[in-house]
């Protein structure tokens, strides 16, 4: 059985591997700033001390401590991590979200688009690349951590009653009389779909007030907590690919203050999501992956203007994967004593993405449909190290 949905938690900016999934408690304070690691429910699988909630459910997820690629810039690194391609070819490839959306739409027939982004797009490159507009993500906007999270376009504005909405559509159907309707198949079809979304249950998917207060508290009353809760609701609805774009990890300055605050919210939210999916028996069919475009330099930069900062570093960084055919409680790869170098089992973005595709039932070596008239494959060939088969369930 292959995974039905994917939740991508994108830590935009590049989180430090040391303060996440590859802590180095035995390194000098020049590297770990005197911070510790903590034990988790899986013996020998430690996590940084700022992740106490995740420590209770590491049996549900696995860490990759040997992610590596050569790009130091946000744009190029993001492009590689999202598409598996090096920038610079003539073609702009779609992000994994658009590709999964396209391949899964053969079997997915929900009213929501197959690719949803909470709450803002990455923006630095077009997520849909050369794929058609129909696989472009629905970007929700808004803030799930507010009293009323409204996705513009899903609920008719102005507090109209159901009757009024119907009468207004009736008026529209009389006014919209141009030409021969049969010549506008696409227009009629999309109109029907849109109305179905408005009148059906799809719009309620975004209505977090349908959840109990306890559930909302469990994820944390934060942007990331409520975004992951919304992501879980989208999984229940069957949406194939959900991206949560979380910014604020580009901590050149005030690194430790930023990380402490970011990890507190994120730890609670990820742990709640993992346990919640597990309890609902959804984890087996849902992949969660958590990463940024790279990690950060390992020696703390104490000179001005950084004053205790970490800079971009792609040669060795960490990611988290869970569910959907990935085993939990495993650690893939190993870095050196300061997390500066991969010493065992390097994992390239191509092999990383290839594993997710494969578990989704998509052949990474298969053809990539495109409108540029070329024979392309979904990913370049896997490396000699290969995809993450050692942690496939």
């Amino acid at each position: 059985m292959s995974a039905k949905s994917v939740i991508e938690l994108w830590l935009w900016g590049g989180p430090s591997q040391l303060e996440t999934f590859d802590p180095k408690p035995n390194a000098s304070p020049d590297y770990n700033n005197g911070l510790k690691a903590i034990d988790t429910v899986v013996p020998g699988m430690q996590v940084h001390e700022w992740w106490p909630n995740l420590a209770k459910c590491t049996n549900l997820c696995s860490f990759i401590r040997s992610m590596t690629h050569p790009h130091f810039g946000h744009e190029t690194a993001t492009y590689l991590m999202q598409t598996g391609r090096n920038p610079g070819g003539g073609d702009v490839y779609p992000a994994i979200g658009a590709v999964v959306a396209m391949m899964k739409s053969k079997t997915y027939s929900g009213d929501l688009p197959p690719f949803v982004i909470l709450t803002g797009a990455k923006g630095r490159f077009s997520e849909v690349g050369f794929l058609g507009d129909q696989y472009a993500p629905l970007v929700t906007g808004g803030n799930p951590n507010t009293q009323k999270f409204v996705v513009d376009g899903f609920v008719p504005p102005g507090g109209l009653s159901q009757k009024e909405i119907e009468r207004r559509f009736d008026l529209l159907s009389r006014i919209d009389n141009f030409g021969k309707p049969e010549a506008f198949g696409e227009f009629i079809e999309t109109g029907k779909k849109a109305r179905h979304v408005i009148e059906g249950g799809a719009a309620r998917t975004f209505d977090l007030s349908q959840e109990t207060n306890e559930m909302r508290d469990r994820y944390g009353r934060t942007w990331i907590g409520q975004s992951l809760l919304a992501a879980r609701r989208l999984v229940e609805f069957g949406v194939p690919y959900i991206t949560v774009n979380m910014s604020g990890w580009d901590s050149h300055k005030r690194h430790f203050e930023t990380m402490k605050q970011r990890t507190a919210d994120t730890d609670k939210a990820i742990a709640a999501l993992l346990c919640d999916l597990h309890e609902r028996k959804l984890l087996d069919q849902t992949i969660l992956w958590v990463s940024g475009e790279f990690g950060r330099t390992t020696k703390v930069d104490r000179d001005p203007p950084w004053n205790g900062g970490r800079n971009h570093y792609p040669r060795c960084f960490s990611a988290l994967v869970a569910g959907g055919g990935f085993r939990g409680g495993c650690v893939v790869g190993e870095s050196d004593e300061t997390a500066s170098k991969v010493v065992k089992r390097p994992v390239s973005p191509v092999d990383f993405l290839g594993s997710i595709y494969e578990l989704c039932g998509i052949d990474p070596d298969g053809p990539m449909p495109n409108n540029v008239g070329k024979k392309l494959t979904i990913l370049p060939p896997e490396s000699s190290e290969g995809r993450l088969r050692e942690i496939y369930a």
């Binding site: 003539g90 504005p157 227009f187 999309t190 849109a194 408005i198 540029v372």
Partner: protein
């Protein structure tokens, strides 16, 4: 039936008369001015007894399948100005009895700044004008290059001369605008430059060319180099001097304008025919017009805009309907409702801020965008293919237009003002039709709307009726399609 024919007579006189003026204007580049005033005036029709209502299709087409003046004026503005006509502009054209009004309008639109604005947007799509990945022109060069492309359109420079300038320029990307042609490539290698040159000037897919041809093209660009200066993002384009006898891009220009001349002209006309007539292949007679008029854009656009095919209706007359471009639709909605655009320039730093009043067709940089433009498929300007523009209709777009709270609020700013409402409902309805569809409501539409209004319960919904009509109009296919 005779009565119905007579009703049509009035509209037909203006329009068919107009067409007759151009019937003699062959597509082969005759001077349209010579035709002026040669239209035989037709006698005034006698007063008729009250006739049955014309069918709804009379709003769009004459019985012979030609576009009505209302459809034509909207079509000309959309194609030549990148917007729909204002109420005054539409009424002036529809009500004018001038037999040469079509010609006069085309001339006026071709001379206007808006023609240069809109068509330079199209050429910037083809020439891939954007700051960011994967083109990486960066902001300064984007503005310099855009300005140069706009002057090519505005001054109607010959395409062959402009092509030569693009292929032979060197120097700083900040000062030598045309040198940016070589920089606006995803791969700055001889093959990468040959790929975009083949597509831009010959409409050829590099990957599909025989290998020998690929090598031959790439050779022309083998000496093109780009180097940095100490100024941020300033780059110098130059020819590697170490092999002064090697082939150059100038030799490629010689090839284009010499042996490949026919294909070079066709590739240009193909795009214009696609934009204006939705044709996949260029019409040979249009290629002839283009060549005879010194490879200039405006005579070609003029000839197409005045042609019989362009004046056909789109219901039965064969003119193809296409969803309106993202940028144009954005400008239409903002013009109509006073909505503010919300541009984003996430990268590159330093961020560029554009005022919300800036028309979307005027955004120089393909890297600056908005949620609306993304939703409606503005091209990414990554490769220069026409297919980068996604003009299909999606359910997400329909949801936005149905439900956007912002848009609905903005509509209220027209329809809820006292000045607007302080009239008979009949006048309000016609006003809205003119604004959104560039025509009055037909008799049957008027009757239907007033009956609908009278049937509504007193209160909120009745009060909201003009707003709901406006909301309905902007959700119609007649509004959303170029037809």
């Amino acid at each position: 039936m005779t009565n119905t024919e007579d009703i049509f007579d009035l509209s037909r006189r203006t329009f068919i008369g107009g067409t007759a003026a151009f019937a003699g204007l062959s597509l082969l580049g005759a001077q349209p001015q010579k035709q002026k005033g040669k239209v035989p005036a037709k006698g005034k029709g006698k007063a008729q007894p009250p006739a049955p209502e014309p069918p709804q299709s009379a709003a769009w087409e004459t019985p012979s399948g030609d576009a009505t003046p209302a459809v034509l004026v909207r079509r000309l503005f959309l194609d030549l100005a990148g917007r729909i006509p204002t109420v005054a502009e539409a009424k002036e054209f529809v009500n004018s009895k001038d037999a040469s009004k079509r010609l006069k309008l085309v001339e006026k639109l071709l001379d206007a700044d808006s023609f240069a604005d809109y068509w330079s947007m199209r050429f910037c799509d083809i020439l891939r004008v954007k700051s960011e990945f994967p083109i990486n022109l960066w902001p300064n060069a984007v503005y310099v290059y855009h300005r140069r492309i706009r002057s090519f359109v505005k001054d109607d420079e010959p395409w062959d001369a402009f092509t030569r300038a693009l292929l032979t320029s060197s120097g700083s990307d900040f000062r030598d605008a045309e040198a940016n042609f070589f920089r606006a490539t995803a791969r700055r290698t001889p093959e990468g430059m040959a790929e975009v040159a083949a597509l831009t000037f010959l409409g050829e897919e590099y990957a599909e060319l025989p290998e020998a041809k690929q090598k031959e093209y790439a050779k022309y660009f083998g000496r093109v180099r780009v180097k940095n200066t100490r100024e941020w993002k300033e780059e110098i384009v130059y020819l590697d001097p170490s092999d002064p006898s090697g082939p150059t891009p100038a030799a490629f220009a010689d090839y284009l304008l010499g042996p490949a001349r026919e294909k070079f002209a066709s590739a240009f006309v193909q795009r214009v025919d696609w934009w204006m007539l939705g044709l996949e292949k260029p019409l040979p007679e249009h290629v002839e017009i283009f060549k005879k008029n010194g490879f200039r854009l405006k005579p070609l656009v003029r000839a197409i805009a005045l042609s019989k095919a362009y004046g056909r209706g789109s219901v039965t007359g064969g003119f193809p309907c296409r969803r309106i471009d993202a940028e144009v639709l954005d400008d239409m909605l903002c013009d109509l409702t006073g909505a503010k655009r919300d541009f984003q320039s996430i990268a590159p730093e330093p961020f560029t801020f554009l005022p919300p009043e800036r028309r979307s067709i005027l955004i120089e940089d393909g890297s600056i965008t908005s949620a609306f433009l993304l939703l409606f498929g503005r091209p990414a300007r990554d490769s220069g293919h026409l297919s980068e523009r996604h003009n299909e209709v999606t359910a997400k777009q329909r949801l936005f237009l149905y439900n956007s709270g912002k848009l609905f609020q903005q509509i209220g700013r027209i329809t809820d003002s006292r000045g607007f409402r302080n009239r008979a409902m009949r006048d309000i309805v016609h006003d809205l039709y003119w604004r959104f569809l560039s025509r009055p409501a037909s008799p049957s539409e008027e009757k239907m709307l007033l009956a609908h209004f009278n049937g509504l319960p007193k209160g909120n919904e009745k009060w909201r009726f003009p707003k709901d009509v406006a909301w309905s109009l902007l959700n119609t296919r007649e509004f959303l399609y170029q037809h």
